[in-house]
C-alpha cells in the first residue's frame, strides 16, 4: 500500500528526513511530496557565509538534494504552503496547488528575528538566512561601491549569526560595524573572559565592535542610512544587516490549531509528534518537549527519529548536544556542555593567555572530579577530546588538559575516553564503534573508518582523532616511502637538506637499504633537484629519472614522446606560433592545444627530440616541464589589457608567476591560473594555487585540482598586493615541496595537514613556526639558479648522446613505430600487444 508523506520546507533537516526514509523504506511504502518555499533545493545553510568566496550556489547544494531518478520523491520548489486542513488532511500552497497527505512533516526552520526598530524596513536593511539574502546584500554592496569607493555596513547582532554576517561583509571587502545588546560578543556561547578576548581578536580584523548598546532607530539620509545606537553613536552606512537570532516558523501550525511551545515552536514529544498524531515537526521550527534548538545536529537527530517512527520502528530523541565549535574570521570559538557553570556547585578553572591570544575555561563538578563543560577561544584544538569527556571523570588535572598548542599532545590521549564517548557528533559515532571497526572489521586507515562508520564524513573535525584512535589500537599507518626507505618523503627531504647529501647512492647507503626502485629513485631525484643539485640529467641523476624526466618529454603509448614548449601565461607571438607550426610540419608531428594554454607536439622519437629542441631553443623557447612533477602552467584570462570587465592585469601576473616558479620540482605536478575578475574565466579555483583579481588587489586560493576528484581551491588570503601575494605563494610552494608525500597533490596535502587550512594559514601567513624567512630564501635560491633544462642538454655532448634509439645503431628509427592519418594529422598505428608468455 502506498501512503503519501508530505514534507513542508526543503531545508537541511527536511532533506535528512527524506534521505532517512528513502534509505530504510525498502518496500517503498511512502510516496514523498516535498513542498519548499525557496526556489533552490536544500543547501548547506551552515556554510552559507562561504557563498561569498565564489558566489557558486551549486557548491552549497547538499548531496542528493534533487532526488533525481527516485520516483518515490516529488520535489516542488518556489511555492510555499499557506494552509493545512487537518480534517481533510490536505495542504494548500500559495499558487493554489493542493496535496493530500497521510502523514505531514513540518520542517519550516526559522525566520530571522528583526528587533522592532523604527526604520527596519527601509531599503538597505537586510536579513541573513538564505542564498537570496546574500545575493541581495551583494547587489547593495555593489550599488553602494559604484563610483564611491568602499561601502559601509553595520550588523545588528553580535552572536553567532551576527558574526557570520560580519564575516560575509568583510569577505566582500567591507569593514563592518557589529552592534550587540549584551555586554559581550556571542553571549550564548562564551563567558566574559572569552568574550573580551574574542572582541580584541575580531577588532584586529577590521571589525568595529559596539557592545552593551541597543540599536534604537534607522533613518534614511540622502540615499544612505543612519543607525542610531542607544549609547549615542550614529553610524553612517550604506546597508544594515539584522542578524540577531531567529524565531521558529510555527505560523502554519498555529493557524491549524496545533499546540505551540511557550516561547514559540511547534510543540512535539520525544518522537517528534505534534498534538495531531499524523503531523510531525522537526528541525528549528520544532519545540521538542518545549525546547527549540538552533543548531543543525539536533535537527538531524529529529529527522532520524521522525523517519524511524514513520517506518514503524518508533524511536525517541536521544537528547541534544548543543556544543558548538566555529571558526569566525579565523578565530576559534567553542563551547560545550555546561559552559556557563549553571550546575549546582560547579567550579570554573580559567586560563587567560594574552600572549598566545587564547582563553580557555573548564567547568568541573563541585568535587573537581567530573568535567561538565567549557569555553575555548583562540585555540579550540582540544575541543573534540574535551567534549567527548563531558560527564566523565577527569583523567588529569584541569590545567594539564589544556596544554598549549604546539607543546605536543595534551596530557590525556584518546586512551582516556570511555567507549561511549562520542567522537563524531555529526553522525553520532562513539569511540567504541570506531574501535570495533578497527579491531574487528579490519579498518586500518582513516579512509576505511570513514567508509565503515561514517565518522568524520560530515564536518571532518574529528578526523585527527580517528588517526589517534588507530595509533591507540596499535595499527601502524606506515609512512615508509617504499621497501628501500622506512622514511616518508618529507622525512627524506629533511635528511637531504640537513646532511647536504647530493647523490642517491650516498643517501640509500646511509639511510636506506638495497638498490632502490621506480618509487624512491624519482622521489629522491625530485628532492635533489629542489635543493639545487645541477642539471636533472647530470651524473648519476639521469638513472634516477622516470622516462619522462630522463628524455625531458612525455612518453606516449607507442613509445614516442610529446614536446611542450613553455608559453608563459598562454601569451604567444605570431612568430613563435609560426615556429611551432613549422617544426611540427618538418618533423611530422601531431599538434594539439592543451588545457594549460600551450601547444603539445606528439609523435617525436628519442632521436628527434634534440633536433626539435635545437629549433625551438633557437627561436627563444624553453622547456615547458610538461614531463615533470613540477610547475606546469599559469593560465590566464586576458585581464585589464583587453577585457571590459577586468580588474587587474591577469596576463602580466600569470607570466611573472610562471617565470618565477618554472622548473620548480615538487611532489606532484603544480598548476596555477590567474583570473582578472570574479567572473573567473581562467578557472583559477581548480588549480593548486589560483589567483583572482579583486578591486583592491588579489585573492589567493590554494589546494584545488581538476582530475578524477575535482576540488575547488580554498581562499587563503584576500585583497593582497602583488608583492605580498608572491611572498605568500613562495612560502606556500616551498612548504608544500618540503612536507608533502610523494605524488600527493596540494589538495590532499592541505586536507591532511593537522589543522588543515587554518594551520597552513598560521604557518605561511602568520609565521607560527618561524620558518617563513627560510622558505622565502629557498625560493629565492630556486629563482636565481633556474636554467633551461633543454638548453642544458643541447650544450652538453655527453647528455645529447643519450638521445639515441639504439646503442648500436644510433639514428635508426624504432621499427615498431608507425603512423597513419586521422583528421589530416599523423596518429600512432596501435601496436599489437604481443602474446604474453604464460606458464
Amino acid at each position: 500500500m502506498n501512503r503519501t508523506l508530505v514534507v513542508v520546507g526543503h531545508g537541511m533537516v527536511a532533506h535528512r528526513l527524506v534521505e532517512a526514509v528513502r534509505s530504510d523504506d525498502v518496500d517503498g511504502t511512502w510516496r514523498i511530496v516535498v513542498l519548499g518555499e525557496e526556489s533552490r533545493p536544500a543547501y548547506d545553510r551552515v556554510a552559507l557565509t562561504s557563498y561569498v568566496d565564489d558566489w557558486d550556489a551549486e557548491r552549497l547544494a547538499l548531496p542528493g538534494c534533487t532526488y533525481s531518478g527516485d520516483e518515490h520523491v516529488e520535489l516542488r520548489l518556489g511555492d510555499p504552503v499557506v494552509s493545512v486542513d487537518r480534517a481533510a488532511k490536505r495542504v494548500t500552497t500559495a499558487s493554489g496547488f493542493t496535496q493530500d497527505y497521510d502523514a505531514l512533516v513540518l520542517a519550516t526552520g526559522s525566520r530571522p528575528f528583526v528587533p522592532p526598530v523604527p526604520g527596519r524596513d527601509l531599503p538597505g536593511c537586510f536579513v541573513y538566512r538564505t542564498i537570496t539574502d546574500l545575493d541581495d546584500i551583494r547587489a547593495a554592496v555593489e550599488r553602494a561601491t559604484d563610483g564611491r569607493g568602499r561601502a559601509a555596513a553595520a550588523v545588528v547582532g553580535g552572536g553567532l549569526l551576527g558574526l557570520e554576517a560580519a564575516k560575509a561583509l568583510r569577505d566582500m571587502g567591507l569593514s563592518p560595524h557589529v552592534v550587540e545588546l549584551a555586554p559581550r560578543l556571542m553571549p550564548l556561547q562564551v563567558d566574559e573572559g572569552g568574550g573580551s578576548l574574542l572582541r580584541s581578536l575580531i577588532t584586529e580584523l577590521d571589525v568595529t565592535v559596539h557592545t552593551g548598546t541597543s540599536t534604537d532607530a534607522v533613518e534614511a539620509d540622502r540615499g544612505r542610512l543612519v543607525a542610531k545606537l542607544g549609547n549615542g553613536t550614529e553610524l553612517d552606512v550604506d546597508l544594515l544587516v539584522f542578524s540577531a537570532g531567529v524565531r521558529p516558523r510555527d505560523d502554519l501550525a498555529r493557524d491549524c490549531g496545533l499546540d505551540v511551545g511557550e516561547r514559540g515552536g511547534v510543540l512535539v514529544d520525544a518522537t517528534c509528534r505534534t498534538s495531531d498524531p499524523d503531523v510531525f515537526a522537526i528541525g528549528e521550527c520544532a519545540a521538542l518537549e518545549g525546547r527549540v534548538y538552533g543548531l543543525v545536529a539536533p535537527g538531524y537527530s529529529m529527522a532520524e527519529v521522525a523517519a524511524a517512527t514513520l517506518l514503524g520502528t518508533p524511536a525517541s530523541f536521544p537528547g541534544a548536544d548543543t556544543s558548538t565549535k566555529l571558526k569566525l574570521m579565523g578565530v576559534d570559538v567553542a563551547s560545550f556542555g555546561d559552559a556557563h557553570a549553571t550546575t549546582d556547585g560547579a567550579l570554573e578553572v580559567a586560563f587567560n593567555d594574552a600572549v598566545r591570544g587564547t582563553y580557555q575555561k573548564l567547568v568541573v563538578s563541585d568535587d573537581a572530579t567530573t568535567l561538565l563543560g567549557g569555553v575555548l577561544v583562540g585555540d579550540a584544538s582540544e575541543y573534540n577530546l574535551l567534549r567527548s569527556l563531558v560527564g566523565n571523570p577527569l583523567p588529569a588535572e584541569p590545567a594539564a588538559l589544556l596544554a598549549p598548542a604546539g607543546a605536543g599532545d595534551s596530557a590525556v590521549g584518546v586512551d582516556a575516553l570511555p567507549a561511549e564517548a562520542q567522537i563524531c557528533s555529526c553522525n553520532a559515532v562513539t569511540k567504541g564503534a570506531i574501535v570495533h571497526a578497527v579491531t574487528d572489521q579490519g579498518c586500518d586507515s582513516v579512509g576505511a573508518i570513514k567508509a565503515c562508520t561514517r565518522a568524520g564524513t560530515s564536518c571532518g573535525s574529528c578526523v585527527p582523532m580517528l588517526g589517534k584512535l588507530l595509533d591507540a589500537c596499535g595499527v601502524e599507518q606506515s609512512r615508509a616511502l617504499c621497501e628501500h626507505f622506512a622514511q616518508s618523503r618529507a622525512e627524506l627531504f629533511e635528511i637531504v637538506r640537513a646532511t647536504r647529501i647530493t647523490t642517491f647512492s650516498e643517501l640509500i647507503a646511509r639511510h636506506g637499504t638495497g638498490a632502490g626502485c621506480a618509487i624512491c629513485k624519482p622521489a629522491v631525484a625530485s628532492i635533489l633537484a629542489t635543493l639545487g643539485n645541477g642539471h636533472v640529467l647530470g651524473g648519476e641523476q639521469v638513472t634516477l629519472q622516470d622516462t619522462n624526466d630522463r628524455f625531458l618529454a612525455n612518453l606516449q603509448r607507442n613509445g614516442t614522446y610529446s614536446v611542450v614548449p613553455r608559453v608563459p601565461g598562454g601569451e604567444i607571438t605570431p612568430d613563435k606560433l609560426i615556429v611551432i607550426g613549422q617544426v611540427a610540419k618538418d618533423f611530422g608531428l601531431y599538434t594539439k592545444i592543451t588545457g594549460g594554454q600551450r601547444i603539445d607536439l606528439f609523435g617525436a622519437t628519442v632521436d628527434q627530440l634534440p633536433l626539435i629542441w635545437r629549433r625551438l631553443v633557437d627561436a627563444g623557447f624553453e622547456s615547458g616541464h610538461a614531463y615533470g612533477k613540477a610547475l606546469r602552467t599559469v593560465k590566464s584570462c586576458v585581464g585589464t589589457t583587453w577585457c571590459r570587465y577586468g580588474q587587474q592585469d591577469s596576463v602580466g601576473l600569470a607570466v611573472e608567476l610562471e617565470l618565477r616558479y618554472r622548473g620548480l620540482r615538487s611532489p606532484h605536478k603544480l598548476k596555477s591560473a590567474v583570473s582578472g575578475c570574479a567572473r573567473e574565466c581562467a578557472e583559477a579555483r581548480s588549480k593548486d594555487f589560483g589567483i583572482i583579481a579583486t578591486e583592491q588587489g588579489w585573492n589567493l586560493y590554494v589546494g584545488g585540482n581538476g582530475g578524477a576528484i575535482p576540488r575547488h581551491a580554498d581562499l587563503l588570503v584576500s585583497d593582497v598586493d602583488t608583492e605580498t601575494l608572491i611572498r605568500i605563494i613562495d612560502r606556500f610552494l616551498m612548504f608544500y615541496v618540503r612536507t608533502a608525500d610523494r605524488l600527493q597533490r596540494t589538495a590532499p596535502w592541505v586536507e591532511e595537514l593537522d589543522g588543515g587550512l587554518d594551520h597552513l594559514r598560521a604557518v605561511i601567513v602568520d609565521d607560527s613556526l618561524g620558518i617563513c624567512a627560510e622558505l622565502e630564501e629557498a625560493m629565492a635560491e630556486h629563482v636565481a639558479n633556474y636554467r633551461d633544462e633543454w638548453r642544458g642538454v643541447l650544450e652538453d655532448p655527453e647528455k645529447l648522446a643519450r638521445f639515441t634509439s639504439f646503442v648500436n645503431a644510433p639514428g635508426t628509427p624504432d621499427p615498431t613505430i608507425s603512423f597513419r592519418t586521422e583528421r589530416e594529422q599523423p596518429v600512432p598505428v596501435l601496436l599489437g600487444v604481443p602474446e604474453v608468455v604464460s606458464r
Partner: protein
C-alpha cells in the same frame, strides 16, 4: 638456456655506454630489440625491449633497481617490474605468469655482446 656454447654472439657497444643502474636498447640484425641492463654491481642482463603490457619497445628506458634483493626493471609505461635474470613479471595479475624473453649478455675486453640462438 644451458646451451650457451651454441650461441652466436653479437658485439653491440662498449661497456661504458651502459651506465650503472640503467639500460640501453640494441637492434639485432633480424630486427629484434634487446634491452641491455647494467646493475649497480656491474652485472649485465638482456631482456626483450618490448613491454608486453603496452606493446611499446621501451623496457630499456625503465628504472633499474631491486625488489626484495632481486634485480628488476620497471616498465616506463605502466610500471610493472620484470626480474632482470628471468624476465618474469612481478606485478602481473594474480594467477597469470607473464614473462619477457631473456638474452644472455657478456662483456669481453670492455665490449658488450648479446647472444642469440
Amino acid at each position: 638456456m644451458t646451451a650457451m656454447a651454441e650461441q652466436t654472439w653479437v658485439a653491440v657497444c662498449a661497456a661504458e655506454a651502459v651506465p650503472r643502474a640503467s639500460g640501453v636498447a640494441a637492434l639485432l640484425d633480424d630486427g629484434t630489440q634487446v634491452a641491455i641492463f647494467r646493475t649497480e654491481d656491474d652485472r649485465f642482463h638482456g631482456l626483450s625491449n618490448v613491454d608486453p603490457f603496452s606493446g611499446a619497445a621501451v623496457l630499456s628506458r625503465g628504472i633499474v633497481g631491486d625488489a626484495g634483493g632481486v634485480p628488476v626493471v620497471a616498465s616506463p609505461v605502466y610500471k610493472q617490474r620484470f626480474d632482470l635474470s628471468t624476465g618474469r613479471c612481478l606485478d602481473a595479475d594474480t594467477g597469470d605468469t607473464v614473462c619477457v624473453a631473456t638474452y644472455p649478455v657478456r662483456v669481453i675486453d670492455g665490449v658488450v655482446h648479446v647472444g642469440s640462438s
